[in-house]
Amino acid sequence: MFWRQPRDRSLWHMILAPTIWALHFVLVYGVTAVLCAKWDAADLARLTIFASTAVALTLIVAVGRGAWRQWDYLDGWDDIHDRPTDNHRRRFLGHVGFLLSLVSTIGVIYVTLPAVFVETCR
């Protein structure tokens, strides 16, 4: 499976966080549309949204931690990784993966915010 692939070569680790964000997005919009259209079940929809947000954020934090280690920023406090070597490629991919985790965290929170304020299906 992809998580077994070596981190200096696999792009999977890099795009994992945005993928979780995308799945969360689709799930939240799909489930809300169905629950609201069929049963006007706003409470259940909000509950589903909050639960899937908790899961998504946990996963993204885990992915982000992995990426942070892979980037290995604290080793020298630098983000210079522009050589065509395995080490630099690994750190570069980690750096990108970490930043994408940050963006995905913000994205997931923004997608959830409406459910915090809007309590009905209207």
Partner: protein
């Protein structure tokens, strides 16, 4: 005052910001919130603009030396990531926290508004009423309470918008959308269709009148009554022309044999502030012009012209319609 200044500075060529159809001159709670948000956004945008351009002047004119890596990183992370994320979250939260109120159920009156080509069907349902009071082309609401609007459309999509009172909501055939409005200041405002809907889209407007609750109650009671019988000789003759020419196959005048529903209800036409969905004044002259050739005034209008009637009979028709208070 604030609105006036911004007008001077920003849009001298456009219509004044003060007026019957201005987002910047709110007369209702919902519109006030949006106007306030607009001023905050504008202020913020001006500050941001000054900051960004100030920075540009600084690095290109005042201090051309390279920034330290530390300062540059701080600028990018702080100004490029943290600042916009927090700012957008605050704005989004404020906007979202305001949304439920603007969709809140009304506390009494509800009005069903249907977008037609190119006019508005209005049906008033006071609290507890079973049958609606039917009217057209003018929205009247009581001040100080939240009224519910149930929006629909025939044939094509329209959008309901009274800028002085609140936001806009699409009107979709086969579906009921809803919104609510809480007007605060009695007065005369103007609504406008805000979704392109064909030839006369731009001429699909309406008067919006906010009244003291007591006056509104009286108005609605009157609106529910049958049409006043013609009071003058000319008006009586005008009614005969109206019925003979078949106006009644499209228009309803309650209390007469005219019961068509293709066009606007004319029972209390003369009580409206405008004619033909906000495009003409309610005068005898405008009535004559409209009846003689509606399409000269509203391209594509779904009412045939009656210019063959000649001036004398158009005068009689106008006299009759003017009496429909």
């Amino acid at each position: 005052m604030r609105a006036g200044l911004a007008c001077l500075a920003l849009v001298p060529a456009l219509a004044a910001c003060e007026g019957r159809q201005s987002v910047l001159d709110p007369a209702g709670r919902d519109a006030a919130v949006m106007a306030e948000l607009f001023w905050w956004m504008l202020g913020g945008a001006v500050i941001l603009w000054l900051l960004v351009n100030g920075l540009m002047v600084y690095v290109s004119r005042l201090n051309r030396d390279a920034l330290s890596v530390r300062a540059a990183t701080l600028l990018v992370v702080g100004g490029g990531i943290v600042f916009p994320t927090v700012l957008l979250a605050v704005l989004l939260s404020y906007g979202l926290s305001e949304m439920p109120r603007q969709l809140a159920p009304g506390t009494g009156l509800s009005v069903r508004v249907t977008g037609e080509l190119w006019w508005w069907r209005m049906e008033y349902l006071p609290e507890g009423a079973e049958t609606p009071v039917i009217s057209a082309n003018e929205l009247r609401l009581p001040a100080g309470s939240r009224s519910e609007l149930r929006l629909g459309a025939n044939e094509v999509i329209h959008s309901f918008w009274v800028p002085a009172l609140g936001g806009k909501t699409d009107m979709i055939p086969g579906r009921e959308t809803r919104m609510s409005l809480e007007p605060l200041e009695p007065g005369e405002y103007r609504g406008q269709c805000a979704e392109f809907c064909g030839d006369s889209h731009a001429l699909m407007a309406f008067g919006a009148v906010v009244m003291e609750p007591e006056a509104f109650r009286e108005w609605l009671e009157h609106e529910a009554t049958d049409a006043a019988p013609p009071a003058t000789e000319a008006a009586r003759a005008g009614r005969a022309v109206f019925l003979a020419e078949g106006c009644g196959s499209c228009h309803t005048v309650r209390g007469t044999p005219a019961d068509g529903t293709i066009g606007p209800d004319l029972t209390h036409l003369a009580g409206r502030t405008t004619l033909a969905a906000g495009v003409l004044p309610m005068t005898a002259d405008a009535l004559k012009r409209w009846i003689a050739d509606p399409r000269a005034i509203k391209p594509g209008a779904r009412m045939p012209g009656f210019d063959h009637l000649g001036d004398a009979r158009l005068d009689l028709l106008a006299a009759y319609l003017e009496g429909l208070e």
